[in-house]
């Protein structure tokens, strides 16, 4: 046998060995959209899982967020894509309705696994009574204040308005309170306090209710009558005003913490109780990211086992401490390193009064009309009643077009 021939044979043999070797060891593919610290943390957890289960290889793939959902929608129903993927609950309903994307995992899940999570987390992963994912982390808004301006954070709306009024000097551009109140996501905290909601438990649209209208009126009272909030709110406006020390209190989420300038000494507290709503607390919406098993995965049990590990206390600590995520596993909030962390703790406290954002596919149709309605009211172009009625009509039309009888 001549030399080149031998080399070819050796290379071919190595290649074949590689192919068979790879086929023997189970390989799980995880898709996520994390960057920076979150990405490092999830990769560390994957490595840890590999070391625990001999022979299992976990490949993590970070997908740019903008393309992520479409990539799942396009690849998974056609038998491609990952074994496990991480996404927030807002797209869950749509994927389940169109089918062949998310595997139901209720059958795998035992009682102990269900019980390990913080309250409300499993609700976000449950669609029409069937469990489709393991919750991993949550986000909600809370009260963030400038310690230089606010000594003790207000507990009730009356206290808050009183305090905010004393800190507001509209002429010099100083306000007591700021949040993106025209954005329906931020407004939902107030709407929930009044007992309003978007869908009832049967999925019927109940946006147009006197509770929702009352919550908008409350927001308008803060803005117009009390004058404690700046006009034209937006994400950038809120953060720049807070960083310039021009606003004392904001309602914002964990993503805001990284934007606060180092010169500001900030504190966190729960959103206030609304006296006008019968002393009910504000209840912000929770966005909950979960790990889902792909319906086209060839190794669903192994994938579930890995997803379960992601949701465990051990992985939770890594994801929380290194990835700065608010993990859903209740046990980690007893750990000293977490209890000593002011930020993680504050958002954990807010969880006592929060509720998961609806995971129905129809929710996508709500955002645009609802936010338009809020803007109209704030600009004085419509009464709260008329604006909500119109928005509700528009959403209902889109929903009817989707839910066609057979």
């Amino acid at each position: 046998m001549n030399k080149p021939m031998r080399i070819i044979l050796v290379i071919g043999g190595l290649f074949l060995a590689g192919v068979f070797g790879a086929a023997q060891a189970a390989e799980l593919v995880l898709w996520h959209a994390y960057r920076g610290a979150e990405k490092n943390a999830i990769e560390k957890v994957a490595k840890l899982y590999e070391s625990r289960t001999a022979g299992t290889k976990v490949t993590t793939l970070a997908i740019p967020y903008d393309a992520y959902a479409d990539k799942i929608t396009a690849s998974v129903p056609r038998g491609k894509g990952p074994d496990v993927f991480i996404y927030a609950q807002d797209r869950l309903g749509g994927w389940i309705e169109s089918g062949k994307t998310v595997e139901p995992i209720g059958f795998f899940m035992d009682e102990a696994t269900q019980q390990q999570f913080l309250p409300g987390m499993m609700d976000a992963m449950t669609y029409k009574g069937t469990v489709f994912g393991l919750p991993l982390n949550y986000k909600s808004i809370t009260l963030i204040y400038n310690k230089a301006l606010v000594k003790t954070p207000p507990k009730t709306s009356t206290e808050m308005v009183k305090l905010a009024k004393s800190l507001t000097h509209a002429d010099s551009g100083r306000y007591g309170l700021a949040y993106w109140y025209t954005n329906f996501y931020f407004h939902a905290a107030l709407m929930n306090a009044f007992g309003g909601s978007v869908f009832d438990k049967n999925g019927k649209l109940v946006l147009n209710s006197k509770e929702t209208v009352a919550s908008i009126k409350q927001m308008m009272k803060w803005y117009k009558q009390d004058g404690i909030m700046p006009s034209e709110p937006s994400e950038t406006l809120v953060s720049s005003m807070f960083n310039e020390g021009k606003v004392a209190m904001v309602f914002n989420g964990p993503w805001f913490i990284g934007e606060i300038s180092p010169s500001i000494d900030f504190g966190l507290a729960m959103l206030p109780v609304i006296d006008e709503a019968g002393k009910k607390p504000m209840r912000p919406w929770l966005t909950i990211e979960g790990a889902y098993i792909s319906a086209s995965s060839k190794q669903k049990e192994a994938a579930y086992d890995f997803a379960k590990f992601l949701a465990s206390e051990e992985a939770g600590l890594i994801l929380a401490l290194e990835g700065r995520q608010l993990h859903t596993n209740a046990a980690i909030y007893k750990d000293k390193r977490i209890t000593g962390d002011v930020v993680l703790n504050a958002f954990h406290d807010q969880l006592n009064s929060a509720e998961p954002m609806p995971n129905r596919a129809e929710m996508t149709m709500v955002w645009s009309p609802a936010t338009t309605a809020m803007n109209k009211v704030v600009k004085g172009n419509a009464t709260p009643e008329a604006a909500i009625k119109e928005a509700s009509k528009m959403v209902q039309e889109s929903i009817n077009a989707l839910r066609k009888g057979r």
Binding site: G94, E97, S98, G99, K100, P104, G106, F107, F108, Y127, K128, G129, T130, K201, N202, G203, K204, E232, S234, T236, L237, S240, E301, A361, T364, M365, S368, T372, N375, K376, K379, M394, S398, A401, L402, R403, K404, G405, R406
Partner: protein, 640 residues
């Protein structure tokens, strides 16, 4: 006589191709319908038994359920096995060695999931008060077995699923296909075609007319006859199922379960569709409800007829293509330039896969009612015809005349069309005039630093428009945007750009103007430099003023370059998705949406895929009509 001459003279080839076309498509359609009827027949028989089982065990406990299921299975040998799953438990099973009741095994997860799926489907149908989810699932096995899964009820409440394996083989097929019949028709058509000689010169030619009439007569006769056959099969099936129903009922009567199964109101709950709704064709006493049957037939015919019309129309088009000699000419051209066709073939195949396939898929989708919620249904179940186009073009709710003045309905198609047209015209006018002025300036003789200016002016075009759009969006920010900052510097009030219909429109126009003038400038500059200087010199000698030189030399000589550029830029601007989507996002309230961004939002925010496809098709039609005018205009300018 050469082939191409033959193609021109004889009606035979045309008749043959068109008739083959109509018959092949027709027999495919009727074959599919017949197969569907056959399938439905088998499925109805299985569902009949499955429903009887569910009704018989509805009022008893687990032990009673096992007993009754066992008894009923013995009566009907075609029921091979029955299992009942309640939550994570296998409640009852007639499969040997299954040992029910027991927990489901690991590999039986699909049963658990199916149970949840059917429960959810029932709850969804009830909760939304719209029946849209199947609650009876039928799986066909390759062996001819049917697996029917349906809700198992206990005390009127959903308690789990009942799955029955049914031997569906051995049912007589509907009367065999009359195979020679279409062949006979084809021969008749060929004979008619062979008998006819056409005169190529004459526009009105009796031979062509006769060919057309003969063709239509044969095709319509064939289709009518086939529809008749389908109706006959539907009627036969109904009677066969009624007979089976009576036979099974009689057997159950002996077990003493029949009172449970008979509905006092006379509704037959055995023969249901996949949504558990009684079909109503067979009454509780086994008689046929004529009225319901007529409706059933009309529904099926109503589905087939439009497809037949489409086939007929297409076949006639093919026939005329041949009769009027286009086929002959096409063939002659093909023979003459055979190498050219071979050379373009790879490109054409690429086009076919990358352009025509997605394109025709989009158009087909427009005739369905596909949404996120029903995209998994079979294609034919989603077909609805012209409904989407009627909804888009037939909605004239453009404005409301209220006491406070006119309120425009920004969601309406015609409003969006109007915005799109205004958007296109404004942008092209701005692009051309700025481009023209700058090109004139750059064309000045002896201008120093010309190269630098040129590079600077082309820059907006070179930067990806995605980035430019986001930069402009930032500049229009009401609070921090540079434009409002400048306004405030001059003591003016800041403008909330995205809140007003006009101001929001202007943000898009400004951005797109910025992006579009460099292209026009480059095109015009190139054309200007190709105008011979002597012409201007001669005009100057003759005493022509600057304006006259512009009007009578520059503009006419620019026209041949300018018009194609304008035509192109109209199409680009009409579909300028990026700028609208990224800068104003159609604000306020979707008033500044153009047609493409609107179509995008319908598809990906409201999940109405088919409606969005119809919307896109309408956009395509508009551009197609524009394209026809464009070719006319371009032709008209070619003489310059």
């Amino acid at each position: 006589m050469t082939i191409s001459e033959h193609l021109k003279r004889s009606a035979l080839p045309g008749m043959a191709v068109a008739m083959l076309f109509a018959l092949v498509l027709g027999s495919w359609l009727f074959g599919a319908e017949m197969a569907d009827l056959h399938l439905q027949h088998r499925q109805r028989l299985a569902v009949l038994q499955a429903n009887a089982l569910v009704l018989a065990v509805a009022d008893t406990d687990a032990a009673g359920t096992r007993k009754r299921v066992g008894e009923m299975q013995k009566l009907e040998p075609r029921i091979e096995s029955v299992i009942i799953v309640a939550g994570p438990q296998l409640l009852a099973s007639t499969r040997p060695g299954d040992g029910a009741p027991r927990q489901l095994k690991r590999e039986e997860k699909p049963l658990y999931d199916l149970s949840n799926l059917i429960r959810t489907a029932r709850e969804t149908n009830r909760g939304e008060e719209v029946v849209r989810k199947k609650t009876i699932q039928i799986d066909e096995m390759p062996s001819g077995r049917l697996v029917v899964t349906l809700p198992y009820l206990s005390g009127g409440e959903f308690a789990g699923i009942l799955q029955m394996q049914f031997d569906g083989s051995g049912y007589p097929r509907a009367a065999g296909d009359t195979f020679p019949f279409p062949i006979l028709l084809l021969i008749a058509a060929l004979l008619a075609g062979a008998a006819l000689r056409m005169q190529t010169q004459k526009k009105v030619d009796p031979a062509k007319l006769i060919a057309l009439v003969a063709f239509l007569l044969i095709v319509l006769f064939y289709q009518q006859q086939q529809i008749g056959r389908l109706e006959q099969v539907v009627k036969q099936d109904n009677r066969a199922i009624a007979t089976q129903y009576l036979a099974s009922a009689e057997q159950l009567d002996r077990l003493g379960y029949l009172p449970l199964l008979r509905d006092p109101a006379g509704v037959n709950h055995w023969d249901t569709d996949d949504y558990e709704r009684p079909r109503g064709v067979i009454a509780a006493d086994g008689s046929i409800a004529e009225e319901a049957e007529t409706k059933q037939l009309a529904r099926r015919a109503g589905f087939i007829r439009p497809i037949l019309w489409a086939i007929d129309l297409f076949a006639v088009a093919v026939l005329l293509f041949f009769l009027y000699g286009y086929a002959g000419r096409a063939y002659a051209a093909f023979r003459e330039h055979i190498y050219a066709y071979i050379y373009v073939a790879p490109a054409m195949i690429g086009m076919l896969v990358l352009v025509f396939f997605p394109f025709s898929y989009g158009i087909t989708l427009a005739f369905t009612d596909t949404t996120l919620f029903n995209e998994s249904l079979p294609f034919l179940d989603r077909l609805i015809g012209w409904g989407n186009f009627k909804a888009i073009l037939g909605d004239f709710n453009i404005y409301q005349d209220t006491a406070e003045g006119i309120i425009w309905n920004y969601q309406n198609f015609y409003w969006t069309l109007m915005v799109t047209v205004v958007w296109t015209i404004t942008n092209v006018v701005i692009g051309v005039s700025f481009g023209f002025i700058l090109a004139m300036v750059l064309n000045t003789e002896g201008l120093r630093g010309k190269a630098i200016y040129r590079v600077l002016l082309i820059l907006p075009w070179a930067i990806p428009n995605y980035i430019t759009a986001l930069v402009w969006r930032g500049m229009f920010h009401p609070q921090f945007g540079v434009i409002n900052q400048v306004l405030q510097m001059f003591g003016l009030e800041p403008v909330a750009w995205f809140d007003g219909v006009i101001s929001s429109f202007l943000t898009g126009v400004a951005t797109n103007g910025w992006l579009s003038f460099p292209f026009m400038m480059v095109v015009i500059l190139g054309a200007l430099q190709s105008i011979p200087k002597e012409m201007y010199e001669a005009a100057e000698v003759e005493g022509a003023s600057r304006w006259q030189r512009l009007r009578h030399i520059t503009l006419p000589l620019l026209k041949p370059t300018l018009i194609p550029a304008i035509v192109l830029s109209v199409v680009w601007t009409f579909n300028m998705f990026n700028i609208i989507f990224l800068v104003s996002g159609g604000e306020p309230s979707g008033a500044n949406e153009i047609l493409v961004t609107k179509a995008y939002k319908i598809a990906f925010e409201q999940y109405q895929y088919a409606y969005a496809a119809a919307y896109s098709t309408v956009i395509f039609m508009i551009l197609l009509v524009y394209g026809f005018f464009q070719t006319r205009i371009t032709k008209a300018t070619e003489s310059f």
